[in-house]
Symmetry: C2
């Protein structure tokens, strides 16, 4: 009845179908009132949200258009004869409504919801309804059910026989690029650590963005496996590995809504570790007034939920609650962070001490998983491997195996300094503010953009002395970022104790 | 920097902005990650969701496109020079997050949320988050706050000095077209009743759709006021009167999500009655296994919430809990319902008795508001006005004042009968099923489409005898509707008691 047309519109993980208002075969407003339609051809069917087109040059009365995402999901060529139908009810939405009404859901209900989410049968508002319904309360058993369900739809990695370790930080601390130091150290010790990392979504850099300054990270499952079998580890982007397709969809709603519950965090992180095949996980929970976790009590509650769910899933967990009161290292943004990481790995005299110590703590915890070692020796072994240059050599192996990027380690020259408004001692640095300024400056889209912190907590500064430098991608970015810093530069100065 | 282009896409009450991926001025993926942007020109600014265009024929690198809804909101001509920005935080979303976390919100917080919803500053997923957050619990005080907030953003009608009465049914019962009988009766008594009604969204007909068979209903505030001042009442579509702009937005998410809480219902209905200037309201709450309210206990809880909120707002309420175990009248769909209404008004011998009695009950309750009448005389007065033809004359005055449509009262000839599969007595009729079959048949888009019930509860039927007729808009509609009826025709037959 209708012929398929690909519409070059990227609707950000929402499947949209386009029909002409003068469609020859259906009353389009009628279908739009129900919010969703089903597009069908040759036994294939996908749900989509309907947009009505009033422009004949865009779509004719005998055509059906699909947005890029919907076209990819549908998987049939332009010109295919398609029909539309009222959507089959997405049955798992009954479970969402039950959750909204305050019920406890079973493992089977979570499995059904997550299968449908991963298959993109939920609209964004339906995803929002699920997330908010869960936010009001979830039992620990429910978190376990959700975690299992999310792992179930991911592509599982198998490492025949090898004990695989992993490391994760819940995030939120700018510059906290410890993975790029921890992975080479534990590889140098001989452990297997196939590390996948995310790209930034709303932060100025994810580990994948920063690692990309040094090497290719856009690596699929087979190539990743080959690299890990050869050298014992990797530092790749998780986006090609498809560990958690449901999480990839949920996050497109969690981020704009700023819903970031403990329960969703635990399910998201542990489901990925489960599909990645890890059996020992060191988890970093930074605590601070502008970190994701604001108090020690909250951190302990989060730790216990991680331990309960991880334990039920057979994952050994070592959870470290760390100091998240300010950014780690100096650089915030891909190139600036890569510079700090290399300084630590090369044992440069001016390498940021906090980044080095945090990485040694976590690497030590991972090395403790080695039964051959005496208890408590992990951190000493980690320090020895870093000091000797063995970790740097491991990083070089990773870079060679993944493919060096050959990118210059030069921050952008479009630069402006943010000056201390007064004499004083740096009392605190707002992680959220620094991240926003760096993001506005163009990180991570521009590798050389970001913020370079010249002072950290405890430093005495004089009025007019620079607190940090903003490196921007474009002149307009510098304007946005400098405006933001002018409103609030994120630094709190206390009166100097000097006479 | 960018020039404005109108994109002929109707995105169903969601503002969408389109930017080329090769946009010359901004990193578009960067903006998309945050979900929303702000489009600005000459002091005007609107928020919008960003879609990225990969097709140069649709949008160039120096253009910004707006969907029909966004273009209308923005209100500036094509070619206007526009810029984009990161959206100012919608501050009321903090209240939404507080609600999600289980807090009780203040009147001021509801006012802020509803102002932003009405101004379309919320995306659909943000609206979903608000609705689901409220669904987990709301105090009666909160419902009052929400109702006040929703009334506040509506366009208030003033009827200097006149006492204005109104009538409302919470809906869900096919064929329940009592307003078109009640309004003429109470007008004939001399009361003022400026009735606005909705069009169907997911049902086979709203009162506005059915009234449109007889007269024009697409009438703005000024014309409505003139009509009511002249003849004492009207039966118009509420869409042009703008009584509840926030509700118009909320409903685009409530319907597809099928979230229909008591609290939202009370706020939606009472806020509209408040802006419409009513001081006395008769409310019909039908109860039945396939009605919106399923049990007497639920109906009483709902009644009490209506009474509390209405009372606080100074609205006199007479709430009638009625029988909602089957459709009312025979026809379901605009033309078929209009036929039933006219049969009652004309006192035809075969007019549906249930529709007549329900209308008299509600009209009598409204007439009781007249202090000149002895208590309990309302229903007798209503019956006298109907029997004498005074009500029919009032309906003729309404039709003349609004403008007769001159539409034929003929059901569609594309017809199929649904037959009894066995001998038996009609035990129950599923309201939801009958509504869906009528809707699939093309109602209300096709005025003559719908379902004509030939038997009601208690009727004895023989195998092969028709239970109802489906009248369809198009042959494809008849196929959809007949398939649905073949799966389940909505009738439950019990064994005949005859020998």
């Amino acid at each position: 009845m209708l012929t398929l047309k690909r519409i070059g519109i990227d609707t950000h993980r929402e499947s949209i179908a386009y029909l002409s208002r003068s469609c020859a075969h259906y009353h389009v407003e009628e279908f739009q009132a129900f919010g969703k339609i089903e597009v069908k051809a040759n036994g294939t069917r996908i749900p989509a949200t309907l947009n009505i087109v009033d422009d004949d040059t865009l779509l004719g009365p005998h055509e059906l258009g699909l947005s890029e995402e919907a076209f990819r999901l549908f998987g049939l060529p332009p010109g295919t004869i398609v029909t539309i139908d009222h959507p089959r009810a997405v049955e798992s939405l009954d479970a969402v409504r039950a959750k909204i009404q305050g019920q406890v859901l079973s493992d089977a209900q979570y499995a059904a919801v997550i299968r449908d989410v991963a298959a993109q049968r939920y609209s964004k508002m339906e995803i929002a309804a699920f997330l908010v319904g869960c936010a009001s309360f979830m039992t620990a058993e429910e978190v376990l059910g959700l975690t299992r369900a999310m792992a179930e739809v991911g592509q599982k990695l198998r490492w025949d026989g090898k004990t695989v370790v992993d490391k994760h930080c819940i995030g939120g601390i700018p510059g906290n690029r410890t993975s790029m130091i921890v992975v080479p150290i534990v590889m140098a010790h001989g452990l297997t650590i196939p590390k996948t990392s995310s790209r930034a979504i709303t932060s100025p850099a994810g580990t994948a963005d920063t690692m990309e300054v040094l090497a290719r990270v856009d690596i699929g499952t087979d190539e990743m496996r080959a690299i890990v079998e050869e050298i014992g580890g990797c530092l790749v982007w998780g986006g090609r590995v498809n560990l958690s397709p449901a999480d990839d969809v949920l996050i497109t709603v969690e981020r704009p809504l700023a819903i970031d519950t403990r329960e969703q965090m635990v399910a998201s992180i542990l489901s990925k570790k489960l599909t990645a095949g890890a059996s020992y996980l060191v988890l970093d929970i930074p605590v601070g007034p502008t970190a994701k976790v604001r108090s020690q009590a909250d951190a302990v509650r989060l730790r216990k939920l991680f331990e309960y769910v991880g334990g039920q899933l057979g994952l050994m967990l070592d959870i470290r609650i760390t100091d998240g009161r300010q950014p780690i290292g100096r650089g915030v943004g891909p190139v600036l962070e890569a510079r700090d990481v290399l300084a630590v790995l090369r044992n440069d005299a001016d390498a940021p001490a906090d980044l080095r110590e945090r990485a040694l703590l976590l690497a030590g915890a991972l090395i403790e998983s080695d039964p051959a070692l005496r208890g408590g020796q992990g951190i000493h072994r980690a320090r020895a491997l870093l000091d000797s240059g063995a970790a740097m050599q491991a990083m070089e192996r990773i870079i060679m195996a993944q493919g060096p990027s050959g990118m210059a380690l030069t921050p952008s020259a479009i630069m402006q300094e943010v000056l201390a408004p007064d004499d004083g001692v740096v009392g605190s640095i707002d992680c959220l503010r620094i991240a926003r300024v760096a993001r506005m400056a163009g990180a991570p889209a521009f590798k050389g953009a970001g913020v370079d912190l010249l002072h950290k907590c405890g430093d005495a500064v004089r009025r007019g002395e620079p607190l940090y430098r903003i490196h921007a991608g474009l002149p307009t970015d510098l304007t946005f970022a400098a405006q933001l810093a002018a409103q609030d530069n994120g630094y709190r100065l206390t009166r100097s104790s000097r006479p």
